[in-house]
C-alpha cells in the first residue's frame, strides 16, 4: 500500500512536553526483575512503571498488593510470606503490560500463546495451563480481565480461585 501523509492533527506544545516527561519516567522506572516469581522489589517496580496507587492487604499466608492505575485498570499482585509473587490478576479498560507482569515467564507465555492460537483458529478467552505457568485472560475491548499464576509457588493453603 502506498501511503501519503497529511498534517491532519497537531499536538499543542504543552501536550508534547508532558508526553516527553512521561516517557522519561517510564524509562527510568523499568525494573531489573519483574513481577511473577519476582520479589517485593518487582512489585515496587510495577507500581512505578504503572504510576499506580497501591493498597496492601495482609493475610496469614500471603499479601495482596493492589495497584490502581490512573486509567482505571486494577492489578493485584499476590505475594507469599517468603516475599515472592506467585500470582497476578487484572481488571480494567487497558491491558497491563504482559511483559511487565510475567517477567522471566514472558518467553514461556509467548511460546504457549502461539501454540494455543496455532492449534485452533478463532477468538475466545485464553486458557494456558502448563506445568509452572497458568494464564487465563478474556474480556472485550476496554474491559479486559485475567490472571497468571505459578501453581508450584502457591502457599499450601491458597486456592487459585483467590487470585482475581
Amino acid at each position: 500500500m502506498k501511503i501519503s501523509t497529511t498534517n491532519r492533527r497537531q499536538f499543542r506544545p504543552s501536550q508534547l512536553g508532558l508526553m516527553g516527561v512521561g516517557l522519561m519516567m517510564l524509562a527510568l522506572a523499568l525494573p531489573a526483575s519483574a513481577s511473577l516469581g519476582g520479589d517485593l522489589g518487582s512489585v515496587q517496580a510495577d507500581q512505578a512503571q504503572m504510576k499506580a496507587s497501591i493498597k496492601i492487604t495482609q493475610s496469614d499466608a500471603y499479601a495482596v498488593h493492589e495497584m490502581k492505575t490512573e486509567t482505571g485498570t486494577v492489578v493485584r499482585e499476590y505475594v507469599a510470606s517468603d516475599g515472592h509473587v506467585f500470582g497476578v490478576a487484572w481488571h480494567g479498560p487497558f491491558m497491563p503490560s504482559m511483559q511487565q507482569i510475567l517477567g522471566t515467564y514472558f518467553p514461556q507465555y509467548i511460546t504457549a500463546l502461539k501454540a494455543a492460537k496455532a492449534g485452533q483458529h478463532g477468538r475466545r478467552p485464553l486458557n494456558i495451563q502448563e506445568p509452572g505457568l497458568v494464564v487465563q485472560s478474556g474480556g472485550h475491548m476496554r474491559a479486559y480481565s485475567g490472571r497468571v499464576y505459578v501453581p508450584e509457588m502457591m502457599p499450601q493453603s491458597v486456592n487459585a480461585d483467590l487470585i482475581k
Binding site: M1, I3, R8, R9, S97, R124, G138, R142
Partner: protein
Amino acid sequence: MRRLLTLALIVTLGLAVGCGSGSGGGSTPVGVPTTVTLSPSAGQFVAPSGTLVITAAVATGLSNTAVNWTLSGPGTLSSKTANPVTYTAPSSVTANTPVVVTATAAASSSSTAYLPLTVLPAASVATANVLAISVDGGPAPPYPDGAFTSVTICSPGTTTCQTVDGILVDTGSEGLRVLSSEIANLSLTTLTDSNGDVLNDCAQFGDGSFTWGPVGLADVRISGEVAGGLPVQVISGTPPSGDCTGNNENTAPLLGANGILGIGLEPTDCYIPGTGSPCDSSTGLAGSPPPGTYYTCSSSGCSAAFVPVSDQVAVPTVYFSADNNGTVVTFPALAGSAATLDGTLSFGIGTQTNNVLGSATIFAVDANDDFQTTFQGQVLNSNNGTGSFIDSGSNGFFFPSSFTVCTDNQSFYCQPLTNLSAANLGTNNAGNTVNFAIDDADTLFNTNPNDSAFGTLAGPNTGGGFDWGLPFFFGRSVFTAVDGQTTTAGTGPFWAY
C-alpha cells in the same frame, strides 16, 4: 425524506462523538484552514436515476467564493460551476458503483472537499442497509463459529476501491482493521503529528493477540452505506517492545481473517461509557496516554500518544449519513452443525422496516459495557469482577464452570450437556432466560470436519464472566446500540435481543 433525515443525523453525530468535519468525508486536513465544506457532508447511496443536490460553502476569507465541480464515476452533474449543483445517477448499474463529487475553490486549487456516494442497482435500494454475513470458515479455514463478510475500501476522495472479503464481524471490539496486503492497490491517507510521525494503533484482544499498524483514512462502502474519511487500522509490521505485546496477528493465517469489522457498543476503540475517550487529551482523565493503544512513530521509534476522538479508529456505523445508531446481527437457528450458515448485519436500529426492535428486551450496561448473567449459582457481573457481555467475535459460549475441559485444546469444553440455562439481567433490571446446550468440542470437530457453524461450541472463561459468543446469535436478532446514539428505545449503549 431520507435525504433530510440524513443531514440531521450527521449533525447529531458530530456533537455526540466529536467527529466534526472529519466524519463527512471532507478531504481538508485538520490544522489547515477549512475553506470548502459540502452539504450534505456525509456519504450516502443514490438510487438509479436518483438526484442529489449538493451545496458548497467557501470560507469568507477568500474573496472569490466560486467553486468548480468534478465528478469521478458514472452519472452527470448539472453544471461545472453552479452552486448548488445537482448530481444525477445513471439509469441503471449492475453492481454497487462508487462515485465521488469534488468541489474545488476557484480561488485556491488546494482547497477541496468531496462527497463519496454509491449508486445502487434498483433491486438493492430497499435493503441498502443490509449486509450479507456468513459463518463459512473465513479465508484461512478451519475457523469454527466466525461470521465473515465483505467491505469495499476506497482511497479517500477517489473511485479506486478494493473489495475485501473474509472480514470478521465482531460486536466485542470497535473499528475496522484490515490487513495491509489486502489493500495493496490503495493509497490511504495516514495521520501524522506536527513532527511528521505516523499515528499507529495497537488493538489488544482478551485472547492475548493484538493487531498493529498505521491509522489510514479511507472511504468505506458497506452494503449501501458509505463511511467517508473513516480512520481504519492498516494491519502491518511489528510494534516496538513494550505495552503492545502478545501474539502479533498480521497475516491471514495468524488472524484467521483478512480483517476485523468491530461494531461494538462504543463509537471508537478508545471510548468508555459515561466517561468519553481516555485516549483524547481533552477528556482530561490521565496525565499521560493510556498504555498499549495509540503511538506516534518515526524511524527512531514510537511514543505513546493522545489522539482526538475524530482521528481514532472508529465503528463505521457512526460515520454513515443514516442508519448510524447501531446494528442488528441476525442468524437462523441451527440444529447441530453446518458447513455454512448465512445471516445478515443490518445497520440502524428502528430506522427502517428491517431493523425494528419489536419485542426485544433491552439490556442496559454498566461502566464496563457489561451486564449480569446468573449461571448455576454464579452471579457474573462487574461488581464481582466478572462482567458478562455479547461478542460475535468469540467463537463459542465461554463461561466459568467445572465442566470437563478438552485435554488437547484447553480453550473448549469436552462435556456434552443439554438443558442448560442462564439468566441475563441488564442494569435497567430488564432480563430474560437463555436456554442452550453444549457438546464435546473434540467430537464436534472430528465428526464434522467440513463444518464451520456449530451451535453448541463452548469453553471455559475461568475467572471471567459469561461471554455470549457467536452461537448465541443463532436463532436470534441481536441489537447493538452505540454509546451516545439515539434510538426508539432510548440512548445507547445497550444490547437488545
